[in-house]
Amino acid sequence: MCGIVGLFLKDKTLEPQLGAMLSEMLVMLTDRGPDSAGIAVYGAATKGKAKVTIQSPSPEADFAGLEAELSKKIDAKVKLLAKSTHAVIDVPAGKVEAAREAIAELRPSVRIMGAGEAIEIYKEVGLPVDVVKRFDVTKMTGSHGIGHTRMATESAVTTLGAHPFSTGPDECLVHNGSLSNHNNLRRELIREGMKFETENDTEVAAAYLSSKIAHGQNLGQALESSVNDLDGFFTFVVGTKNGFGVVRDAIACKPAVLAETDRYVAFGSEYRALTKLPGIEDAKVWEPEPSTVYFWEH
């Protein structure tokens, strides 16, 4: 079991409340996944800037002085904003790869959670309510976001085993289910040059989608392909810089509810995650069909 929530705002006036709305949805699904929680929020992109979210098991030691050292190393001004075990570093858009390499060199114990123009990712072991508090998620603003409460089945309960997973710029994925051909797929993707941080099945699904997108498919096509190539149980919710997608495997035993109004599209593993959303009483609420890709874009 795991819990997934997702919120894609159509009404810009709701954007300041994105974090608060997502937090409430996430905490509602605590009993589907009490061991870890995570959230990806797509905030406003600044032209010429990119964000790199990093995580460290010893943030005080790792984040101290990193801003200055990194600026010097990549020869560009960066800005680091620490939030508990995570930090978001603003870097010039063309310097993301250089920053990744420099961070790996300067702070070997720091992990990159994700990078892109709009995405920020926060995930940790612990109850969703504590994870939300730790990263001050309720105050976050943005156009869309995805959250996950985890009950681990395929790999250890660690920060890196928590969702969302991001393997491409501004891309992220959360998963309820378990994949059975992830070891094979991981080997194939490693051969293509992709790098993996964990033994987790969901990371393979995220990398699979990133690989398809890197080969020219759009997210919708990549999700269509996943229905054929991934074996096992899955309900996926994915985010891109402008978009939000949902797909379920053909058996569709992992629960999923979608709701749409003029103001938002919302996803919940269960309806109760959606009950506090404004105007939910009059929303179109339905269960997404198996093997069918649903996708919304700004």
């Binding site: 269960e270 309806y271 959606l274 198996p290």
Partner: protein
């Protein structure tokens, strides 16, 4: 006739107004405990649940012929194991509504999620919207009437009872079915292993008419349905059928 004795008989307190439970104010356990504590349905025949907001197991395990009106949508296993109660959900139901129902009636005014009426042994489950996958999986005597469509793998391993679908059925209807009867008015996307189309004989028309009447459906005729059931070729293991298992 001894009138004085009658007058002295202890007064029974009968609560005819519905007893209302607000799940925003009271925990679900309190509701279900109160429902389970009913020993004589005529004492408190009528119940109302407000603000269910997707709660799990609303009115599960009721064992008296009481009426429960649920105002809103519910989560998993609403009315599970129901015995004689009449439960109406004025909203949609999550997975497993009426699972293992024994008797009574559950009506869902909206849609039902997967495995509605799973393993049900008796009673009537009416879904006025659509039911998703595995509706009536392993049903063992329950009658299920769905006004809309049912999803894939419905009536999988269905043993007895009737599944009536006014709309369409998804893939693999009645896979590995035993003796349940399936009546579908619309299209069937595909039939599962050992499930075949069957002739509608007068007794089937009569049974269907009775079920539609009980479900309060008056705008369709039994003659518009097609019956499906077991070809009975998978009952005993036969090595020649190995591919079909």
């Amino acid at each position: 006739m001894n009138v004085t004795t009658l007058a002295k008989a202890p007064q029974r307190e009968v609560n005819y107004a519905p007893r209302v439970f607000d799940l925003d104010a009271a925990p679900l356990r309190e509701l279900n405990l109160a429902l389970h504590q009913v020993t004589d349905a005529s004492d408190e025949p009528s119940w109302e649940v407000i603000n269910p907001k997707g709660s799990h197991a609303v009115a599960a395990g009721v064992a008296q012929p009481i009426a429960v009106e649920v105002r809103g949508s519910v989560g998993y296993y609403c009315g599970g194991m129901n015995d004689r109660a009449s439960i109406t959900v004025h909203g949609s139901a999550g997975p497993g509504v009426g699972e293992n129902m024994m008797s009574g009636q559950i009506t869902v005014k909206g849609d039902a999620s997967q495995y509605a009426g799973a393993t049900g042994r008796g009673g009537l489950l009416v879904i006025e919207g659509n039911a998703s996958s595995r509706c009536g999986i392993s049903m063992k005597g329950i009658d299920i009437v769905v006004r809309g469509n049912v999803g894939h793998m419905s009536a999988f391993m269905a043993q007895s009872g009737n599944l009536v679908v006014l709309g369409n059925a998804g893939d693999a209807l009645g896979d590995s079915i035993y003796e349940a009867r399936l009546f579908v008015r619309g299209e069937v996307k595909s039939l599962g292993a050992d499930c075949i189309k069957k002739e509608m004989r007068p007794e089937h028309i009569a049974k269907l008419k009775e079920l539609l009447d009980r479900a309060g459906i008056t705008d369709v005729k039994p003659e518009e349905f097609t019956r499906y059931g077991s070809a009975r070729t998978l009952y005993n293991f036969n090595i020649d059928n190995a591919d079909a298992y």
